[in-house]
């Protein structure tokens, strides 16, 4: 996933440097509030640890081996700000000293592997392990899932960065100037390796490290556990609402992913799409006029306010998906709040009777 120099255009690199710099600035600002003399050695040594973990040749199920990134355990122990800085430093040393990853692409590599991966790892670990005791098995499973998700989301970002290059940067004859493959090739090519090997490697090392820390040094798991700092206290019920909001926000942001898929979902055709599909198939058994009469009649029964998840006044499809997601979540929240208030009133009446 370390992108070398030459694969991304200078403008893509510039945009991702700005994205990475924003993350570094926010992380550094947050950590400056803590005791700097304590934070500097902790992050530095953790960066060195991540660097060494990246060199581990991990045996994976299926007889193969893979390399982890160490981002998940950094996010679990240091929190997202610490993980962003530790991983960025490890990636910078790899680029500047070992030539692994480029200099112009350093921003892109840090954005994908340090910022995106740290945030995904931290959010998914906190979400899945919410309220679990430090020694709970759920924390091990949460670490494995968080590791797998973090690597794959980071790989997806890298794949999209590769995939947009030929679309945006080519010469007059159509020759791609940087990474030559479009999204339709770059995304599956990148994801196959990460969904199978790299994601598994990160899941294995993250779960193994959390299981080890549960026994050997549980104190390291406490700061980001959401549990009270008192070691003797029982695991309290952690307020689930903030996590729920984070999960909903992440899911809403991911809704435009559907645009990447080609064609229409099977069985969700409009009469026009069905007619087009039938005419292109043009077999004897499915003539062009094979749109059922009932479907034609009922299709006019209800016209959606946001047809195809894109309000007519919005020109960007991605933004249309996002707006539709916000609108849908808004309706559901209003209905559920109304139902809750009705149920509460009903209970009050019953108890007073």
């Amino acid at each position: 996933m370390h992108i070398p120099d030459g694969y991304l255009s200078p403008s893509t690199c510039g945009v991702l440097y700005v994205g990475a710099a924003t993350g570094w600035y926010a992380a550094l600002k947050r950590l400056r509030q803590a005791l700097l003399s304590r934070v500097i050695p902790l992050i530095s040594v953790f960066a060195a640890f991540s660097f060494v973990v990246m060199m581990f040749n991990l045996p994976l199920p299926g007889g193969t081996t893979g390399h982890a990134l160490g981002v998940t355990i950094a996010a679990i122990v240091l929190g997202p700000s610490g993980a962003i800085l530790a991983l960025s430093i490890a990636i910078a040393i790899q680029a500047l000293f070992f030539g692994d990853g480029g200099i112009t692409t350093l921003g892109a590599n840090c954005f994908n592997m340090a910022i995106v991966a740290s945030l995904v790892a931290y959010a998914s670990y906190r979400l899945i392990a919410a309220g679990a005791a430090l020694a709970s098995r759920r924390r091990v499973i949460a670490a494995a899932i968080a590791g797998y998700l973090a690597i794959n989301v980071a790989a997806l970002f890298a794949a999209v960065e590769f995939g947009i290059q030929p679309m945006l940067f080519h010469d007059a004859s159509g020759t791609p100037l940087y990474a030559p493959y479009p999204l339709s090739i770059a995304v599956p090519a990148m994801m196959i390796g990460h969904l199978t090997f790299a994601g598994l490697a990160e899941a294995v090392i993250s779960a193994g490290l959390v299981a080890y820390l549960q026994v050997a040094d549980p104190g390291l798991l406490r700061p980001t556990s959401g549990l009270p700092s008192d070691a003797t206290a029982e695991p309290a019920t952690v307020p689930a609402l903030p996590r729920l909001w984070i999960a909903i926000a992440v899911l809403m942001l991911l809704t435009p992913l559907g645009i990447l898929a080609a064609g229409t979902a099977w069985g969700e055709w409009s009469p026009a799409q069905l007619a087009r599909a039938a005419s292109s198939a043009s077999t004897a058994s499915s003539p062009a006029s094979a749109v059922p009469v009932g479907l034609q009649r009922l299709a006019k029964f209800w016209t959606a306010p946001f047809p195809a998840y894109a309000p007519t006044f919005v020109h960007s499809r991605g933004f249309g998906y996002l707006l539709s997601a916000m609108f849908g979540v808004g309706i559901l929240l209003t209905v559920s709040l109304a139902a809750r208030s009705w149920a509460a009133r009903h209970r009050r009446k019953e108890s007073s009777a």
């Binding site: 255009s9 040594v45 500047l96 159509g174 791609p176 193994g208």
Partner: protein, 269 residues
């Protein structure tokens, strides 16, 4: 299976040490790049990497590769080392990635291999990608081989990096080798006590435990470093010594870097 897992990790650790040793040795030689102020080296070579990325024509990137080759010879960097460490590895890695582009890039057909057609655009994009990566990695490797790490860090201050970031980079580099050595010793001792073939799940457990012990040692180490910093009176103010002065020779070198980069960008626009 057990041997390959333990040994391949140990080989990776050994390679890191070898690279570090090679860099330290080459940086001490008397060559053209080594004679320049480290700030000029860092800024100049970064500018040339940027020029490689900005150039849109094969000829311009090829000209920059010739410049990189000349720099290597003038700086007494072994061409064999460059070939083994950069050119062949990049050719293998990027070549595999670029190869399908010959067939999948739409354009003017120039040759056919059975039913698959090679296009002119495919050939050009594959060649441009390989040449661009080769040239950029050569410049980066020259920087690494000709500049001690401590000088790279001090020079990065010239690029307005925060002092905290410089200190963390320096500390990380220092402790990378300590942790690599510790991990190597753990793997060695485990290898010396391993008889027979370990099951895959036992191998995974062993790798996780080794990483876990290394993590505990890292945290203990960071506590020791913190106490050492406290005992020396560190209160959060980072001081970086900067006793370098630019000479006419350095300014001429910087001008050379800028001219070569600008010419390549102009040629390859």
């Amino acid at each position: 299976m057990s041997r390959s897992f333990l040994e391949s990790t140990a080989v990776g650790f050994g390679r890191a040490f070898t690279r570090a040793m090679l860099s330290e040795t080459t940086a001490q030689r008397r060559g053209w790049l080594q004679s320049l102020d480290p700030r000029v080296r860092v800024v100049g070579l970064f500018a040339l990497v940027l020029a490689v990325t900005l150039s849109r024509k094969l000829a311009a990137v090829a000209a920059l590769l010739v410049v990189a080759f000349a720099m290597a010879v003038l700086s007494r960097v072994s061409v064999v080392t460059l070939a083994k460490r950069v050119w062949l590895i990049v050719l293998g890695f990027t070549g595999v990635i670029a190869l399908p582009a010959l067939f999948v890039t739409p354009g003017q057909p120039v040759a056919a291999l059975g039913s698959v057609v090679i296009t002119e655009q495919g050939l050009r994009t594959a060649a441009l990608l390989i040449l661009r990566v080769e040239t950029a990695v050569t410049f980066t490797t020259l920087l690494v081989l000709c500049t001690p790490w401590s000088h790279v860090l001090k020079a990065l201050r010239a690029l307005w990096l925060p002092k905290e970031a410089i200190v963390m980079l320096a500390m990380t580099y220092r402790y990378v080798f300590l942790l690599v050595e510790t991990a190597n010793q753990m793997f060695e001792s485990r290898r010396s006590r391993t008889v027979g073939i370990l099951k895959p799940q036992d191998q995974r457990r062993m790798a996780a435990r080794t990483a876990g012990v290394l993590l505990s040692k890292s945290v203990a180490l960071s506590n020791d470093v913190y106490l050492a910093m406290q005992s020396r009176g560190f209160r959060g103010d980072v001081q970086v010594l900067s006793d370098w002065h630019l000479t006419l020779w350095d300014l001429a070198g910087l001008l050379g870097f800028v001219l070569a980069g600008s010419l390549a960008v102009w040629m390859g626009r």
